[in-house]
Amino acid sequence: MDVSLLFFTFMLAIFLGLELISKVPSKLHTPLMSGSNAISGITIVGALLAAGRGGSVFLTVLGTVAVALAAINVVGGYWVTDRMLAMFRYGPKKDEPQP
Amino acid sequence: MQIYVPGEDDSEETRVPLLPETVRQLSGLGCEISVEPGLGAALGVSDSAYMEAGAGATRPREEGLKSADLVLRLNKPSPGEVDILKPGCLHISFLDPFTDASVLRLLAEKSVDAIAMELMPRTTLAQKMDALSSQANLAGYVAVILAAERLPRLFPMMMTPAGTLQPARVLVVGAGVAGLQAIATARRLGARVQAYDTRPTAAEQVRSLGARFVEIKLGETGQTEQGYAKALTDQQIESQRQALQKHCADADVVITTAQVFGKKAPVIVTEEMVRGMKAGSVVVDAAADTGGNVACAAIGQETMVGSVRVLAFRNLSRRVPVHASQVYSNNLGNLVEHFWDKERKEFVLKREDEILRGALATQGGRIVNPLFV
């Protein structure tokens, strides 16, 4: 049951991912890539478990390295995306639509 | 109610005051209409066409004028004609009162109630009977066509294997009804069009036709409640001339339509400005009827001023008599229908009516229009 449910979730997320993005102005290509790259740093959740869960020192070190790598990805990714987006001039602020 | 429609004596007049179609409209209201024999001849409309449309008879001018309760005509009557009108009858036509107000006196003396088409107010409601507008509209078109026919170059831009032909530059001075139609027509032909007017609202209207508006700072200008322009001070006229000088020099065609209601048209284009134009350029003074905007124009004629051709024909709409007659005839028809009392089958002169307050020149033996009292 569990695993099949996971596959359901997986399938739905894939479909959602495919639907979510349809047309992106070219100036947003890089920020979008960078922003979604930051999301893929979610693997940090696994890394945290690996680093904190104990086990051999080797394992812990492995986990810690994973945490560090993932943290770079997450922190750097969001930050750099934010910097890129800060450079844009927006159009009319007032009708900034809610998502 | 007996309606009579006389023809015109002026051999240059090509228009016909009433067309069979309007006869049909009016006889539908219950009017009895008679027309002068040969009324429509200039346009090839036969007397029988009028009869078929519901006219009761053709009558010679004298007989017709004597017996009519309502006279519909194009231009003002001669003093002799006024004299034979039935007292108390209603007379509708252009009266040209600003040039010569004596006809009003004659009409008043004869106790004729007269509506002067040129006094029709410029309101939304009155537009259907506004003959000044409907003729000016045609005049604007004609002015451009006259210029195009005489210009030694094309209006539109063309990029051809034998080089690029630059579009003609057209300057329209005065963006009232005639001016706007001139702008539209010149734009249609592909010219680069600039236009100028003193009324502040004109800029938007010019742009609404896709043309450029020439901005000239003159200080206070403004317009009357009727939408007519106010006359400028001498100093304003002077600075306006100066500012327009270089626009004229650039232009291949200048069309002037500036008028001031009830006054002589302002002189805007000086001889110097005309002489400063390129050889072969054309100037059309479409305000010739009220004295003209171009200093060196010979009213009614086509002349060369240096190497520039200056046209100052009167009554430009006469050059498209088919449509000019159609719109005038409709204006008359709409006017009569508007004030027609269907029960009593007669034209009712309500003094309190806004339109009549403007357009009525004489009533009950007196000149009633405040402009001429």
Partner: protein, 457 residues
Amino acid sequence: MTALLFRNLAYLGAAILFILGLKMLTRPETARRGNRLSALGMLIAIVATLTTRGLSFQWILAGLAVGGIIGAVAAQAVKMTGMPEMVALFNGFGGGASLLVGCAEYLYNPQSPAGTLIAVAAAVLIGGVTFSGSLVAVVKLAGFVSGKPLLFRGQKLVNGLLLAGAILCGAGFAAEAGHMPGLLAALIILALILGIGSTIPIGGADMPVVIALLNSYSGLAACAAGFVLLNTVLIVSGSLVGASGLILTGIMCRAMNRSIGHVLFAGVGVAAGKAADQVQGEARPISPQDAYLLLEAAQHVAIVPGYGMAVAQAQHAVSELGELLQANGCQVSYVIHPVAGRMPGHMNVLLAEANVPYDLLAEPQDVNPTMQSVDVALVIGANDVVNPAAREDASSAIYGMPIVNVDQAKTCIVLKRTLSAGFSGVDNPLFFKPNTRMLFGDAKASVAALVAEFKGT
């Protein structure tokens, strides 16, 4: 139980924030806010994870601190021009982390069921490819090595063998119930080599597309790690990124006029030119969608109308497209060849009717000298007047006629219905040039489709 419930709710919240964030990142007005929402989601996910019972924090904090600081400093320090490398680098680290997570999980619990082992192998394979591939991209982009594609014979074969080997290792590893960790080690090595091998043949110009693709991979790696840990937020976020990254890759590819197949399997960065010269005789069609992407990204567009625009009565649509391009910040000129159409001034009448301002009209001699700087030349139903045979082929009947040199623009899109010749009957080699794309169909319909693409944004 409540902690678990809380954690799962937090993960749910994080996933929702990621979804909203991604959605908002696709619109300029909301992009920045979207990115911050998604960062908030990440924070929530991390904090929630830290509530797991029995975690010891010293290592975690060390890792977080080191990684966080490095990330922040790097992100702050990088110059705008260095952004792509930086993104690639971050992405590689993400992939590396997934690889390590997979390994660690296996080592922690070697007796996992086969399903988990398959997931471990997938995480390691995809993570490894992402890691080494991203590093190659960084090195190429930063100019440490030449951006040129490194090509050698049999490259595709080698990559194919590497991939097959990696899959075999993974399958064996899972089949042996994890009893052969050596296979895992081999898998890691093969994955790293594969990542390098599949990236070096790609030219520097195509790197943005490659990074987008590797980004999609790193999502999938995270997803695989999620299956290893049976963790939903990993699966959901990872597959979201994987799928949307794939779409983004496609979008970017088309905006750069590349096909994804070419990017991946040939050294397209420079080879496009070479390869295409050989395929003379084969015109390349383009869809309105792809043409839109090219136009949307263009800084300077030259529109060259011809008789076909008149036949199609496409002038109003063309004028509208021109306005949309200008509104998009692009410089637009209409290049009117003197003999275009069937009468002198034919194009002028039509464009004037469509209210194209005279100032935008240009003659060929004004535009030809700077044609190289034109991003897209949009040829709308013109043929003879853009026929390079007039310049190149002395035997042609139109040799010597000055033409609009659209073939010298960066890209040339030709709108016509077929490949047939124009009035002069002379065949047009333009249609077969490597930088030419044919947008087949009635010109009015094609231009309307482009307009629709622009407005549909």
